[in-house]
Symmetry: C2
Subunit: 342 residues, 2 copies
């Protein structure tokens, strides 16, 4: 690339083939579609919207509905194009060249967005069974004084959670900010209230997983007014389309419509876990809608051949796989095709 700036000259553009056909279990999306009632309400609302106008730059429509749903103040909420944009805002606004503490393996985009800063990562390994190593995390906080501590809970890709009491100890111990990424917390439980109780916590949440709305690209942060202001310094104006705000607003106002669907996803994931155990595999205990495990390349190849798409990840120089639960029927085919190649 002739004109790219020097510090980026070793990078390549990211392109990715869109998969539309087959059993898609590679993006931790919902096993079920957006409820029809939600889609009908979105369509109906389009009659009332004047798309010629710019959206409200402060995203009041969706922020007020999120705030109401949690019974918190609107000034404790900001929204982004997926939680990705908020991650970018967090690194852009907080990090110059300080330490960032995160566990390994975790969501790969943390390092991607941090790469535009001079932040230095401290990677903490998990204990056996991908249990958070809270003791080492606390020692590292004392040793390195990180500006940012990232806890993804439930963690992508392992499904691990950090206990509330551990979270709270870390929050009190650090002089920096704790980012608690709760993209998957609807499948377990949320500790969002810690972001209101303490002034140094940012909780990230999304409509892409349990709300079955990855297509609208809307995530949100709950935090102290001071940290929300900090994120809003670098948040681009008019970042959210009017329609995405409407869709998310309708979803959160009607969150009861998701209750059975979410319970069913958790049940399907537990059944999938048990079926994998029965095959003699060692799936990781997961508090989310996906499972992390290791098997031979032959299994992966057989799944691909049968158009079953799962996520291949490199961890400790080995290939591991992350599979989100599909429907009962999809999981049945998945298990068959894994078995076939074991």
């Amino acid at each position: 690339m002739k004109y790219i700036k020097k510090s980026l000259e070793n990078r390549t553009p990211y392109y990715s083939k869109m998969i539309e056909d087959g059993i898609i279990l590679n993006a931790n999306e919902s096993a079920f579609k957006t409820p029809k009632k939600i889609m009908d309400l979105i369509k109906a609302e389009l009659d009332n919207v004047d798309l010629r106008r710019y959206p409200d730059t402060d995203n009041l429509y969706i922020r007020s509905r999120i705030a109401k749903s949690y019974n918190i103040d609107i000034t404790n909420v900001t929204c982004g194009v997926g939680s990705d944009q908020l991650l970018d805002c967090i690194f852009r606004s907080l990090i110059e060249d300080e330490y960032i503490l995160a566990c390994n393996p975790t969501f790969s985009m943390y390092k991607e967005y941090a790469s535009y800063t001079n932040g230095k990562f401290i990677d903490i390994d998990f204990l056996d069974g991908f249990i958070y190593d809270v003791k080492t995390i606390k020692e590292s906080i004392k040793k390195y004084n990180p500006k940012l501590i990232i806890v993804c809970s439930p963690n992508n890709p392992t499904g691990s959670i950090m206990e509330r009491s551990d979270l709270e100890e870390i929050i009190k111990l650090t002089n920096g900010v704790v980012l608690l990424d709760e993209a998957y917390s609807e499948f377990d439980k949320s500790n969002y209230d810690l972001a209101i109780k303490y002034d140094n916590v940012i909780v990230l949440k999304t409509f892409s997983k349990a709300y079955a709305l990855a297509g609208i690209r809307l995530g949100y942060a709950i935090s102290s007014v001071d940290l929300i202001d900090t994120l809003n310094v670098v948040k681009p104006p008019y970042n959210l389309s009017t329609i995405s705000q409407i869709a998310a607003g309708i979803a959160i106002e009607n969150k009861d419509l998701y209750k059975d669907q979410i319970a069913e996803i958790v049940k399907l994931k537990d059944e999938l876990y048990n079926d994998l155990l029965k095959l003699g595999l060692k799936p990781t205990k997961s508090y989310s809608n996906f499972i992390f495990l290791k098997f031979s390349d032959k299994v992966y190849e057989n799944l691909l051949k049968n158009k079953i798409y799962i996520r291949k990840l490199m961890y400790n120089n080995e290939f591991w796989y992350r599979i989100n639960t599909g429907t009962k029927e999809e999981n049945k085919v998945l298990i068959e095709k894994i078995k076939e190649a074991l």
Copy 2:
């Protein structure tokens, strides 16, 4: 803000009151709503979409339709959350600490996004009547060798255009990249083909103005494959919602539906220009859907009092105003209320 990084500590978050009531002429939006046929097609397409899925990260749906509309290759197109996100990508991928040449006054977001780099602006004044000073631009290119030259044509907020022959001379003269911002070119004419003819030109376009779709937040860049790749290095994955892609795709496939509407907007803007002249004011000749002029604060206050919203800008230590054309009825009220306070 307790945790904000040092280099940003003097910044403040940007909040802005949403205006929903009155005559809104301050954001260069379309005087007319999105055509009903377009809205109906968008709604119908929602029946076919699975919003639980992430959008295609490569935005093939909308890029292919844009490419087809211009009869260019899809690899010459990339898309962003408004052209704003592409501006951010341009500065992020091209600029370290080099010179950036732009004219003054122009779109304020150039400096905003550039502020996250160490780029240094060279501001070139316009000639009388806000005519592009091509001679000085060329001399400055030779003198400073800027990495980026920004030409907004028609220019926001003046409405000025740069002649094609001048553009082409600048493109050939520079060793850097020419950013030709054509957000308003549907109201005049486009020189997008220069971005295909030369390898150092990025043309930015948007659905927010003539297409009456500011609410979907979708802009696009036409450029050489090499520069599109460069922008895609820093473009966040999954940046565009599925619905915004669908809406823009439907709009560009049905662009004939906008023909009369755009012609009417140009006519209304010309009539507004003449009416302002008749009042003894000196509006700037504009090739866009808005007009730039100076009048007393008293006029502005009277408009505000009557809920007529226009854009107030500081230029050369004086207040100037940018007014986009409204409908015939809105312009009539506007002229009355200006007259009242002259």
